[in-house]
């Protein structure tokens, strides 16, 4: 079914954009390295492939004048989400270009800003590519060529957005999103919103953490019961 495919592709694009955003955050910081730039490149290329695929799937139904009103509304909703996602991606790509030019890796005119982020982000990129892990094959001068490539890709994405606006006319004000305000608070089955806590960094783990406290009490209760049983068994035998 066309809509399910489009939805799946859009989810994948959304994932790739979110991961790309997360990776771009660390350019210029202490976690910046050739590996990071390579991960950026792979993520954005995947995102662009997905974008082209979605565009190919969504454009024909929207240009088809004989489509029913409900179906059309559904496709328009997907279209609006898609074009906003693409705008986000383009903006992040531009920022990546700016930051990448300002903080070149090989000849540091400016040393990297020590932001406290140290670990690698290979898992993030792997998540974007829906792969298990990522292999790094970057050579030393990777970031410089990558910047040229990035520039070309930004222009391509810009053209794609422009093209999309010209070919398909979806007035934004008529589109009703399906999610209401506060929809994110309803737990999605796969989402597991448990362990991200309040971000004041000087906090103590332990007493103020109800789910962990609950787990701890249950565990200690089970342990006590086991010890009591063992003592009883020892006394009996």
């Amino acid at each position: 079914m066309a809509k399910e495919e489009c939805k799946a592709l859009l989810d994948a694009l959304n994932k790739a954009t979110a991961c790309y955003h997360h990776l771009v955050l660390t350019i210029g910081g202490s976690a910046d390295s050739q590996n990071l730039r390579e991960e950026l490149q792979k993520t954005r290329q995947k995102a662009q492939e997905l974008a082209v695929a979605i565009r190919g799937r969504l454009t024909p139904p929207l240009r088809d004048r004989g489509l029913g009103a409900e179906e059309r509304a559904e496709f328009e909703r997907l279209w609006v989400a898609f074009s906003s996602c693409l705008d986000l991606l383009e903006a992040d790509m531009r920022r990546a270009l700016t930051l990448g030019t300002e903080f070149p890796l090989n000849k540091p005119l400016r040393p990297l800003v020590r932001t406290g982020v140290e670990g690698g982000a290979a898992n993030v990129a792997a998540r974007a590519l829906s792969a298990r892990s990522l292999r790094h094959e970057a050579e030393r001068g990777f970031d410089v060529e990558d910047l040229h490539q990035l520039e070309r890709e930004i222009l391509q994405v810009g053209e794609m957005i422009h093209d999309m606006e010209m070919k398909v006319n979806v007035p934004r004000w008529t589109v009703q999103a399906r999610q209401a305000a506060g929809a994110e608070l309803l737990a999605r089955p796969s989402a597991g919103v448990s362990s991200m806590r309040c971000v004041s960094v000087e906090q103590r783990m332990g007493p103020c953490d109800p789910s962990k406290a609950l787990a701890a009490t249950i565990f200690s209760a089970v342990l006590l019961a086991a010890v009591a049983l063992a003592v009883c068994v020892a006394k009996l035998s």
């Binding site: 986000l88 300002e102 040393p111 020590r114 670990g119 806590r197 309040c198």
Partner: protein, 463 residues
């Protein structure tokens, strides 16, 4: 929407040089040999490096720029307020404390110059993420913003929710320490860009100026780019420039000349109407006052333009010129002014009248214009428009300015005016100003629609 910063943001960035200066400072702090001393921050299990204390920052600033402690504190506070440094213990209060409170540097992505102006979609995604993390525990002003955003961009709310969830998942793929740091960074960015109520916003800036500099990163330099640069530079060459020494001299002269005349700098006699409710000052300085004040008469000596702009001055100048038998110059000038500022329909008739009265050979009040200007004007009279007599008017103006005006200033007429001019006495200050004269607030103009049409003429008459 998250707009591309290349063209639109570039213009804004060029007008905020304080940001690039701060960024240079932050980058020089990162120098491994001469930068700020870094410590590690120890949480229960995780250790996060690259923390600095307020004291370290101050010492580094004092050492590097050879400034006083007060100035270093001010600089440090600016850095924190603009979000380049953020405190780790009390993240909602962006200020620099001179003790062992730890701070950390902000990642370049969230620097003010990279990511400005803050996009609404991004803010919506941030609030959604915070909503998920804190299970609805947003601050009040954040809840308001959330509702506002939901109304504004409700069409993309699907994307907001999807992106919020995915970004949180992406963050989970990192180590715990990195996750905390990145969350802090984002929180600081939004504290600076959407400050809570009561905190002054550092983003307010003055009126925009039209500077044509491009963004920080120039995409490949195409032919168009160079063409625009060449045109920009050519225009810049053609601009008239004045040396600041000349300019400042003129400014000083203006200030010293006008100082005694300015009612705010040197007080106004008899008294400031806004303070004492006595509007004699306005009545005496009205455009059509019978007897001008001394200050006013002195002002006519500053420049010819002052004299002509004041109706009383102009009338006296006309008297003087009629004694010298050159009053037609001023009449011609006045007629040209009327042409320039009058109605479009009257232009042809007026041009004709002016020609008949002042320019035709053998006219009643013939003005003396040099032959070249006269030829040009006669040619232009074939197609009359409101600026056709501009050249002639300018010629007569310069004639009056160079010739009649100095004689006017030296004449007896002017000296008599100076002598007769009134200097109002200063009103005696009452001992109990509030007891004697009750103040009445003027009635609200909204309540008197009938007499509103009569008001403007009275209002204009007051200086």
């Amino acid at each position: 929407m998250a707009a591309g910063p290349a063209s639109h943001g570039g213009l804004r960035r060029a007008q905020r040089p304080h940001l690039s200066k701060m960024e240079r400072m932050v980058v020089s702090m990162q120098d491994p040999d001469q930068g700020v001393k870094m410590r590690s921050q120890r949480l229960l299990i995780t250790v996060i490096p690259h923390a600095v204390t307020g004291n370290d920052i101050m010492e580094w600033l004092i050492h590097k720029y050879c400034i006083t402690e007060e100035e270093a504190l001010h600089l440090g506070t600016l850095l924190v307020r603009h979000g380049y440094l953020y405190p780790l213990r009390d993240p909602c209060h962006l200020e620099l404390r001179l003790d062992e409170t730890p701070y950390r540097f902000q990642t370049p992505y969230f620097w003010m110059s990279t990511l400005w102006p803050a996009a609404e979609l991004d803010y919506a995604i941030y609030l959604a993420k915070k909503n998920i993390r804190k299970r609805g525990g947003l601050f009040d002003h954040e809840k308001e913003h959330y509702d506002q955003l939901h109304r504004k961009i409700s069409h993309t709310w699907d994307l907001v929710v999807m992106q919020a969830r995915e970004q949180l998942w992406a963050a989970k793929q990192r180590r715990k320490g990195d996750r905390l740091v990145i969350a802090c960074q984002e929180q600081t960015y939004w504290l600076v860009n959407r400050p809570p109520p009561g905190v002054p916003s550092v983003l307010e800036q003055g009126p925009e100026r039209n500077s044509c500099t491009a963004g920080r990163v120039q995409m490949t330099k195409t032919v168009d780019f160079y063409r625009r640069e060449v045109e920009c530079l050519r225009k810049a060459l053609g601009r008239a420039r004045v040396k600041s020494s000349v300019c400042l001299e003129a400014y000083l002269k203006f200030s010293s000349q006008r100082g005694p005349h300015d009612p705010i700098m040197s007080g106004c006699l008899p008294s400031n109407p806004w303070v004492t409710d006595n509007d004699t000052y306005w009545a005496m300085n009205a455009p059509s006052a019978a007897v001008p004040t001394r200050l006013r008469v002195e002002q006519w000596a500053f420049s010819f333009r002052e004299l002509l702009e004041d109706p009383v001055g102009r009338a006296h100048f006309m008297d003087f010129l009629s004694k010298e038998f050159s009053a037609e110059n001023l009449s011609f000038w006045e007629a040209c002014e009327e042409l320039r500022h009058g109605g479009q329909a009257q232009v042809p008739a007026l041009v004709d009248a002016v020609y008949q009265q002042f320019l035709a050979p053998g006219a009643a009040r013939w003005v003396n214009i040099d032959s070249r200007t006269m030829e040009r004007t006669l040619v232009g009279l074939g197609r009359p428009h409101r600026h056709v007599l501009d050249d002639a008017q300018l010629h007569i103006y310069m004639l009056m300015k160079k010739d009649s005006y100095p004689r006017f200033l030296k004449s007896d007429l002017y000296k008599d005016l100076l002598a007769e001019a009134v200097v109002p006495p200063k009103t005696k200050r009452r001992v109990f100003p509030f007891m004697r004269k009750p103040r009445h607030s003027s009635p609200s103009p909204a309540l008197l629609p009938a007499s509103a049409s009569r008001e403007p003429s009275g209002g204009d008459g007051e200086a």
